[in-house]
Structure formats: C-alpha cells, structure tokens
Assembly symmetry: C2
Homo-oligomer: 348 residues x 2
DNA sequence: GTGAAAGCGCTAACAT
DNA sequence: ATGTTAGCGCTTTCAC
C-alpha cells in the first residue's frame, strides 16, 4: 500500500495533510483554488482514501454485514439484490456470511463482527438452536441489528417479515377449497419464527374450515435426509394435499411424486412458499406463495441505514410486515377424480 | 468502540500493550503464565481485535472481494458457496459486489478496492464494455486478482474456466444427433470469453457435421428486452433446435414456446448451459450442460489465497479448466415426427 | 520476559 | 485559509 496517500499529496502540493484532507472533503474553510489543485492531483494519481485508516479514526466503516442461512435459494438471492441496491446507493460495502443453518457458525460470525468491522448487521436466522445471547451482546454494544424473514420475536430489534400467518391460512384454505380431504404441512423447524407462525396459519385454517386432523412433518436440519423423510411421510400418511412452508421441500415432493408415481394434482395437490423463477414451467406448474424478497431486502437495508445514521434512536419493535402473493399453478387444480380412486392406486 | 481493547487488557493485568499483543499472538518470548493470564482475561471479556487497526498496521485485511454480474442465478450462487467455504476455512471475510452487467459499475468497484480494502479479488466479468484498464491498474498495484468463468483472456492473471469449447461442441453435436436440421445458438454477448468460445464450439460442430448455415442470436444487455428478441427470432427463423449459452435465455425459450404453442421437443429441441436445480422437473425436463459451479468457486478462491500468501510469485497464465457435464432431459428427446409437419404448424 | 515508543493513514481540535 | 499535533488500536523494533 506504500502508495499515494494524503501525506504524499500534501508533499507534492506543498500543503499540510490536514489541508489536503479538508480539501478532499470539500470543507468550507479551504480556498477554492486549493481545493481545485488538491482534487486535480488526487484525480490524476487515482487517490483513494485508505478505508482502514478512515474507519479507525472515524469509528465508521461504511460496511454492513448480511448473515443468512443459504445463498443458493432464490428468496435469499433476491433479498440480497434488494440489500445490495440500497448499499450501493449509499456507498456502503456488503459483507456476506452464510451459516448453512448452523447456529454455532452464526455465533462465531457475530463475535467477529462486533468490534468495528461493520456499522450494522442484517440477519435471517439459522434453523439450529434457539440461543439469543449473541444477539443480546450485539445490542449491548450498540451496533444496529435488523432481522428479516426469519426473525427473533423475543428481541427488541427492528424486524421485517411477510404476512406469514395470513398467507399460510390462505394457502391451506386454498387446498381445502380445491377439495383436499387430508392436508399435510411440511416445515423445517418449529424453532424459527416462520416455522411456528406458518404452522399456526395452517392449524387454524384446518380447524376453522374442516374436521381434518392436522398432519405435520417437521424435517431434519440435515438437508440430505429430507428426501427420505418426505417420501416415507407421503407413503405412510397418503395426504391428498401438501402445503410446504419452504421451497426446497416442495421440490422434494415433486421428486418423490415422480419416483412413486403420484400424479400432481390428481393424486396429490401441492402448494408452497417459493420464489422459484421456474415455478410456472414445472410439470405441473407449481402454485406458490411468493414473498416480496427484493422488497424485503431493500426495506431491511433501508431501516438498518436509518438506525446507523441516527444512533440510539428508538427501535421499531413491531415487525414491518410486507405482503406475499398467491400465484396459481396447475399443482392445485381441482380434479374430478374421486379420492377412493387415488387410494386404490396407492395400495398397489 | 470505546470498548475492550489491548490497552484496556494491559491496564487490567498490569502489563504493557506490547506484552498483551504478543501474548495474544502466542509469541515465544512470553512466559507461559503471562500468556495464560492474558488469554483468560481476553476470553472473559470477549476481546476481539479491531480489524481496522490490524489492517492499517499490518497491511492485510483478511478480506477478499467477489465481483459478479448477478446473484439471482444458481451458477453464481453455487460459485459463492464454494468461495465462501474456502474463505471461512481460512478466516477470510467476503465482500460481494454485483455489477448487474454494467461495466461502469465494475470499474467503480475496482477503484474502491485497490487501496487496502481487500487482500485480493475474484471476478467474473460483466457483459458490457471491453475495457481492461481497471484490471491493469489493479495488477500494477500488486493486488492478486483471479478470474473465473467469464475471464479476460488478454490479462496475464490466473483464470478458472470450464471446458466451454468442448461442451458447446458436444451440445451442438447432441442436437445434430437427435435430428435437428436447423440449429440456432443463443448468446448474450460476443464481448465476453464464454460468449465467444461457446459460439466457436457451436460453429465448428455445425461446420464439421452438417451443411446447415449458422443461426445466431446475440441478445441485448438489457434483460427486459430479451423475451421479445427471442420470440421474434424463433418466429422468424423457425429453428428446430436451440442451443442456449446461458440459462436464462433457455427459460425465455420455454416461455416463448408456451406462448406461441410450440411443443418441446416435438417442434423444437432445447439444450442449455444451466445449473437450475429444477431442470429435471421442467415441462419437459431440460437437457443441460451443468458447470461445476461450486468447484469453480472453490478452486478460484484457493488460487487467490495462494497468490495472496506468496506475493509476487509467478501467476498461472494458462486457464485452469474444469469439466462440465451433459445431463440429458426430455427437451432433446428424438422424435419420430417429420420436420415438415412442424413447419406446417408454424405457418398457421 | 517485558516495556517504551514509533507509526500505519486519516481526521479534528486547536492553533495561527 | 492553512498548519501543528494528537490519537484511533494495533504491531513491531529497539531497549533493558
């Protein structure tokens, strides 16, 4: 880095470093002519301030971190697009940390983040564990922390969610309306907000509109195991409708149906939370609850920057709620076929 | 940040800051007992070194940047997973910059990166523009820069690619083998390495194995326009086989076929470079050339870290080439139907 | 084995 | 309008 810095510019121009520094920041105390000379040379030499020095001195890094479970998932990818837009527009840099659903990793990340690496953090929680000490410590340090999607309801931080309860109620109701008599709910974990709340929407809809017994599969944290879990569950319980609370479980359902030769939507109907770009091109097209992922990321980032800029201002404790959309596909088309027919097929 | 730092630890323990610093780094000059005391207190108080101060002093940031066109794309998402794994294992932090195919933005990012923000950079180039000054400047500063996938062949930097020529030749040959008589090639831009090389594979296969005329659609940088471009192209040229060099153009083809009622694979066969998780669930399942995205990211990151750790060592100028895989789907199944039949349908 | 002091590059309070 | 100086937290050279 022994390169062009303020000291060097100062020497070249026969000025002091403070004058150069002020000129670069367009301070009112500096004469127009000096400013011009400084800026001209800075431009010519491609001067770029050293971020470590600025951060060390100024106690701000112009950097935010995003801690998410996974990136190969269109919801999070779109959310990052939203976050990135806000960051870019405000000249913030973006650090990415992937937990892969492992809470120990999440904690490790937080411990490296709370000493001046970033000005603020956005998080969507991992599934594993329900510890919150790392969040509490963070709040004590006074570093802004905003939750999105998978939020921690216990924490007093700003949170951005979608209308998970309503959407889940609606999704379940939709399956009921198209004639499902045995509706199952697939989830990853009750540990996280979206698991719990989406389940509640499912349970209430079932209770209010049918006399079915709830049928719930809580999957494993280990993604590898879930195909077998889903398959066993479907074979054993023979649901005629599935509401999947996360995208990849819906994909596993498609895979299972392909393998054991269940016809969607004739034998079984499927609806899922999903931001798949190809949902409408699947065979059959998948009925989805699509979250406003980009908007969520954007909103979360904006609120984080607001918190960063007005330090110590009151936090928004009530979650900011954005609406998801139901997008109909053929995976939940009503069918004439009787359900006994379907049972016979399964018995073979 | 007026928090727990080395000075504070030193005061608490009645030691000097230098002793504490050395103890934390397990220096051989420090007595076992002192080390123990220091480490114990550091742990108790959750001491974490200030990264700006370390960076400023030590001229290394333990941070790398990834500059990519887009993140909502499973290839890049998987590549980041690979990069993230290497970064995490080596305690590096990961900055993400999205160019959205805009070279001006790419340049802006590079200018903020070359003064001590990062120890190295990974890049997959944007489509727009063919300027390389920002790369050259970077090389002059001596900061390691590694290209992956969309590489710049002119630059002497380390590059990681897939066997794009061979894969494209193979993909084209596959369409020929299943009976296509009019094969089109869809690309985003000749400006980037993968565009040019994949086109060459297509052209050579066509030349060596058929007497067809090449039929190429170079799409727009503006993603919004491409649906119409693809539609017009297909309607006008009536290809019976399409080789798409990027995933999202294949998706547009599916959308177009749906709209104008062309049956895949009967009327038109489609093969595409793609890392779609749902390729096998599409209607019909898509034949893909799948790149080893995770492995590419991992390899690129490893080579970058190697370059960072052995500064000034010789660069690897020849691209490191990883192999893609052909995954057969029904979108290129051979059909008995005659091509004249198809033409009649289109005329209607 | 430990301490004192300098300095990484920048900014801001305090001169003048 | 410009200069001097101190200090952000850390590491390292040089003393002892």
């Amino acid at each position: 880095m022994g390169d062009v810095n303020i000291k060097f510019l100062a020497k070249e121009l026969n000025l002091s470093t403070s004058t150069v520094s002020r000129a670069l920041k367009d301070s009112y105390e500096i004469s127009a002519e000096t400013k011009m000379r400084v800026l001209a040379l800075a431009k010519k030499l491609n001067y770029e301030p050293n971020p470590s020095a600025s951060s060390l001195r100024g106690q701000k890094t112009k950097t935010i971190a995003v801690v998410i479970p996974e990136i190969s998932n269109n919801f999070f990818a779109l959310a990052i697009n939203g976050i990135e837009k806000v960051a870019r527009e405000n000249n913030y840099h973006l650090l990415i940390y992937l937990t892969h659903e492992n809470q120990e990793r999440e904690k490790t990340y937080f411990s490296t983040l709370y000493n001046g690496r970033v000005d603020g953090v956005l998080i969507s929680m991992s599934v594993q564990g329900s510890d919150t000490v790392h969040f509490e410590e963070f709040n004590q340090k006074g570093i802004p922390l905003v939750f999105f999607d998978r939020v921690c309801l216990k924490m007093p931080n700003t949170k951005i969610t979608t209308d998970d309860y309503d959407s889940s109620y609606l999704a379940t109701k939709h399956l009921i309306d198209v004639g499902c008599k045995k509706i199952a709910f697939l989830m990853i974990s009750k540990n996280i907000s979206i698991g719990e709340i989406r389940m509640k929407g499912y349970l209430d809809a079932i209770k209010n509109h049918t006399n079915q017994n709830p049928l719930i599969l809580e999957c494993s944290n280990d993604i590898e195991e879930n195909y077998e879990l889903v398959k066993t569950f479907i074979v054993k319980n023979k649901p005629d409708g599935i509401f999947s609370s996360v995208e990849y479980l819906a994909i596993e359902c498609y895979n299972v149906c392909k393998e054991i030769n269940l016809k969607i939507p004739d034998d079984i109907k499927i609806i899922s939370f999903s931001n798949l770009q190809t949902a409408h091109l699947l065979n059959p097209s998948l009925t989805t609850i699509a979250q406003p992922a980009f908007n969520m990321g954007q909103t979360a980032a904006k609120l984080l920057l607001t918190a960063i800029n007005k330090k110590g201002t009151s936090k928004i404790t009530e979650p900011v709620v954005l609406k998801s959309r139901l997008i109909l596909g053929n995976s939940t088309s009503p069918t004439a076929r009787s359900s006994s027919n379907r049972r016979n097929r399964l018995r073979k």
